[in-house]
């Protein structure tokens, strides 16, 4: 009964380079790769890890992540360690061309050389896959890579992470992970017109690919205000905590990246995020009473079976809506999208059940979705502004594409 072993066949054996690297170096690289969630962009779900080809939708067009296995023709097989470090540290490819900042080198630049070398050794140890990536789908002049020189000049500062000697080692480790390999700002920071982070909005929430990523700052008004450090750790480990459940992009980050972190690293991230102060929020507009009445009826007829009539949900099973960061987000995109299309809680090692919400787009009109979204954003102490039917309609259209 050896058929199990057959599953491992079918791809080329690991290249020589890996055999020369020590086991501990490869292990270190594997962990660094997890902290950077390289697999998230460099793998089409269901295909061989790191074989590339996945499209990242940006406001400027679609950028396809390359194959980063060590195939010589289509991957990194011919790259030296120095060339690899230059790409990670400066955003410059082996042939000297500049990489698009969709590849988060502005964050990876903070990684020390030995860490980057370990990433190289790990990737080199993987089975090689021959696979071309599709051409990027970008308009002129963005496909002129020399325009990126200008971008880099404006927005990019290469340099490894420098610890703050006034803070604890734990805080510094958290800051390194968040600002470096884990590149949280990639989603959780609003971008300017050139697609670079708005510095003043750092980790205060962003919107990409028609998802609103909430604020992940602590402080008195941040998205993580009510989360304890332990709850942040629990969320990054298992995808659920007493406040929420992860789905969509964050689900992938947890599945491929943070659930594999050490407890100490998750704690360090929590310490760092909790320490980030936030701005006071504007008071939301008042919602129309008839909209709230309709919203309540829709809620009680549709949502209570999981989220419970008082919005308390079932912590770690069905996300509570009362006090939810996503529900209270100034940007209602995520709430509306989840109602339209449903959402799946990420299955993790801690919580393997992919508890999911169904799609309501066939069942509720734009006006009804706006009403129920407005209701949940204004109830049980929540303070989200009203949602209009037009906003729902626009997102519905956008999602059809």
């Amino acid at each position: 009964m050896t058929a199990f072993a057959m599953l491992l066949l079918g791809s080329a054996p690991a290249p020589l380079a890996a055999q020369e690297s020590s086991f501990s170096q490869v292990e270190r690289g594997r962990y660094a790769v997890a902290t950077g969630n390289c697999q998230g962009c460099h793998t089409i779900p269901g295909e061989v890890p790191f074989s590339g080809g996945r499209g990242l939708e940006t406001p400027f067009g679609t950028i396809y992540a390359p194959n980063i296995t060590f195939d010589e023709d289509t991957g990194l097989g011919l790259w030296s360690k120095d060339e690899f470090y230059r790409a990670m540290h400066e955003g410059i490819a082996r042939d000297g061309s500049r990489l698009y900042p969709a590849f988060p080198y502005p964050h990876f630049t903070k990684m020390p050389r030995d860490e980057v070398d370990a990433v190289y050794d790990y990737l080199a140890s993987l089975p090689r896959v021959r696979k071309e990536k599709p051409e990027n789908d970008l308009p002129v002049p963005l496909n002129w890579r020399f325009a990126l020189r200008f971008w880099n000049w404006m927005f990019f500062e290469p340099g490894e992470f420098q610890p703050d000697p006034t803070r604890s080692a734990e805080w510094n480790r958290g800051a390194y992970l968040v600002e470096g390999p884990a590149h949280c700002a990639g989603c959780h920071t609003e971008k300017n017109l050139a697609g670079a982070d708005k510095e003043a909005q750092h980790l205060k929430g962003g919107n990409l690919e028609n998802w609103a990523a909430p604020s992940i700052r602590g402080g008195t008004h941040g998205g993580l205000e009510k989360w304890s450090e332990d709850e942040i750790v629990e969320y990054l480990r298992g995808g659920r905590n007493a406040h929420t459940a992860a789905f969509s992009t964050m689900a992938e980050v947890i599945e491929l990246s943070t659930q594999h972190f050490t407890e100490a690293d998750l704690k360090a991230i929590a310490v760092y995020l909790k320490d980030l102060e936030s701005d006071e929020r504007e008071e939301p507009e008042e919602a129309d009473a008839s909209v709230l009445a309709a919203g309540e009826a829709i809620y009680l007829d549709n949502c209570n079976a999981c989220h419970v009539s008082d919005g308390s949900g079932v912590p770690r099973f069905f996300a509570p809506l009362a006090g939810s960061g996503k529900v209270n987000d100034p940007d209602p995109t995520t709430v509306v999208r989840v109602i339209l299309q449903g959402a799946r809680s990420v299955p993790t090692k801690v919580h393997p059940s992919p508890l999911s919400m169904p799609a309501y787009d066939w069942k509720l009109t734009d006006e009804q979705i706006a009403a129920v979204a407005t209701y949940v954003r204004a109830s049980w102490g929540n303070r989200g502004s009203p949602v209009t039917a037009d906003e729902v309609g626009e997102l519905r259209e956008a999602l059809k594409e």
Binding site: F4, C306, S353
Partner: protein, 586 residues
């Protein structure tokens, strides 16, 4: 010409409860396991979420959850002198189809058979003398004590809510004092009882009976099972049996096992592929795999070292017959065993109508109920009664779905203004007490292959020859009297008895508790499979499901089916894999 596929260690035919349990157990052993399901892939958020689940027409009346009769069905007659005709649509029972099988659309009433049920023949003989002429009841070949740890595992897998009545031999207040000793309390507390259960509990207590909460696979609170799978709390929506659960609050393959199982690299599930027969080698004592066909009509030979039939009871029996394994039972000669001891159950009920109290039974759940067990199995003295066995009497508030549930008093016509008025007046003010009666095997009730009717692939349909037996009728009459005494004390204005008299009718829904056909037992002359559910004829073939029950007890069968599955899995893991071959020497 069938295409030959790569070898797997184990092939499971069908993918319901028994297959999922085995897949989980055998992949843990490192084996490659392939499950072949003839129905569709289906899962909670896409196929039966709350947005579409509470739809009586679609799921029950248009039978979207069940085996598609256009492809095959069962022919039926009451006795051998008649001509069997196909059940052109399901009626009295509803075999499941699709991923999760009937675990998707069961009520969740999760019982253990009594210790005496497993030794029904020897126990009753010892206490009451010889069994009546024609009764073919026999012992299971496995005891309650042997199965106890496996019952326990299944209850923890499912998060059963209930109250123990016998903990390690100590009788517990509030539980079923007649149950076999259990090693631990139920993993969850009982369901939240409503008005009707309170009335039932009061009435039965007044009669000196011991009411207890029905064991429920609808979650009484959020539950994380030993595999880490999460089940939400039941919201008492009243759409359990015949429906998928939209909010993960009913134990099913999807909610309890699949999230963990599907992640294993050594497990694969194929859907919309139907197994046509088990392939045997020339000696016909070894299975080489199965032949299956996909919905596009492509045929495949799937080689495997171990073949396990996990389909519905009637389908497992039919697969044995179509594969030519064992001899088909012939009641005229008494020869053959495959198809023998087909049993069902006999249900009767009493509706209770209240004058000014509302039962509001739309607020219900599949296993929300109070039960008394004084008249089940051999919990009472049968001397002079003229029957053996019994059944529980319960007040379940499962639903008030109005196409199906029409509580109208005695004498109400079936249509017109009088019917309409009676519905308007009583719909929210009625409840029902039911007796869940056992079924004893008789020589004339059996399954074989129909000589006339064929399925979509041209294979003979299964033929069912069945009628209620003298034992059933006497037992049901006795249970109905006890039930009437209870119903009359529940505070209603009037009651209506729904007797099960006359011949068995294949159309009105009664229960999907069909058993027998591939019965287990102590030796090859009295059974199709041994005490480990291993075929006597083909030792690398195992048969799961209620088909192995030599006769049916007065309980819902799922708990016992699952315990037997864990028991068989343990035998495969600890004995068979070490030394493949017969686990019991004939």
């Amino acid at each position: 010409m069938a295409r030959k596929l790569p070898h797997v260690d184990v092939v499971l035919v069908g993918f319901g409860w028994t297959a999922a349990i085995l897949a989980q157990e055998l992949t843990d052993e490192g084996l490659t396991v392939l499950a072949i399901e003839r129905g569709a892939w289906r899962d909670t958020p896409t196929d039966f979420p709350p947005t579409v689940a509470p739809d009586e027409l679609r799921w029950y009346w248009r039978k979207e959850m069940f085996q598609n009769n256009a492809r095959d069905t069962i022919t039926f007659r009451n006795n051998r002198s008649q001509t069997a005709l196909p059940m052109r649509r399901w009626g009295s029972f509803l075999p499941g189809e699709g991923v999760g099988g009937a675990s998707v659309h069961w009520n969740g009433q999760t019982w253990r058979f009594l210790p005496s049920d497993f030794i029904a023949a020897s126990h009753n003989r010892e206490r009451y003398g010889e069994l009546p002429e024609g009764m073919t009841v026999q012992d299971f070949g496995v005891t309650y004590a042997e199965l106890e740890p496996h019952f326990d595992r299944f209850e923890k897998l499912c998060g059963i809510g209930g109250k123990a009545g016998n903990l390690n031999g100590q009788i517990q207040d509030g539980g079923n004092p007649f149950e076999g000793p259990r090693s631990s309390e139920y993993p969850n507390p009982p369901m939240h009882m409503t008005f009707a259960q309170h009335q039932f509990a009061k009435a039965t207590a007044e009669l000196g009976l011991k009411p207890f909460p029905g064991p429920s696979a609808n979650m009484s609170r959020p539950y994380t099972n030993p595999l880490g799978c999460q089940l939400g709390p039941c919201s008492y929506c009243g759409f359990c049996e015949k429906y998928g659960c939209g909010n993960y609050s009913k134990a099913s393959v999807q909610t309890t096992i699949l999230p963990v199982l599907i992640q294993k690299p050594n497990f694969t599930l194929k859907t919309h592929n139907e197994v046509l027969h088990v392939n045997l080698d020339k000696s016909r004592t070894r299975a080489t795999g199965v032949r299956h066909v996909d919905v596009q009509g492509n045929e495949y030979d799937q080689p495997a070292d171990l073949v396990i039939l996990c389909a519905y009871q009637t389908n497992n029996t039919r697969l044995m017959m179509l594969s030519g394994i064992g001899e088909i039972y012939n009641p005229a000669t008494g020869q053959g065993l495959v198809g023998k001891n087909y049993c069902y159950q006999i249900m009767s009920s009493a509706d209770v109508f209240f004058e000014d109290k509302y039962t509001n039974e739309f607020a219900g759940a599949g296993a929300l109920g109070m039960v008394v067990d004084e008249y089940n199995g051999d919990n009472f003295d049968h001397s002079g009664l003229g029957f053996i066995g019994g059944g529980y009497i319960a007040n379940w508030t499962t639903n008030a779905r109005p196409i199906e549930s029409q509580p109208v008093p005695e004498g109400t016509p079936s249509w017109g203004s009088a019917w309409k008025k009676a519905m308007a007046e009583n719909f929210l003010k009625a409840t029902s007490v039911g007796a869940h009666g056992a079924s004893m095997a008789y020589a004339n009730n059996y399954l074989d292959l129909d000589p006339t009717y064929k399925d979509a692939y041209g294979r003979p349909l299964m033929r069912m020859t069945y009628d209620f037996t003298p034992n059933d009728v006497a037992m049901s009459a006795f249970l109905t009297e006890r039930m009437k005494e209870i119903a009359e004390r529940m505070g209603g204005r009037e009651i209506k008895l729904n007797l099960r008299d006359g011949p068995y009718d294949s159309m009105p829904y009664q229960t999907t508790h069909n058993t027998g056909g591939t019965i287990m037992g102590t030796n090859p002359s009295n059974s199709v499979v041994n005490r480990y559910l291993q075929s006597w004829d083909v030792p690398n073939l195992f048969v799961m499901g209620a088909g192995v029950f030599p006769q049916n007890a007065g309980y819902n069968p799922t708990g016992t089916v699952a315990a037997l599955t864990y028991w068989a899995a343990a035998a495969i893991r600890s004995q068979y894999l070490r030394s493949p071959g017969p686990l019991v020497q004939a």
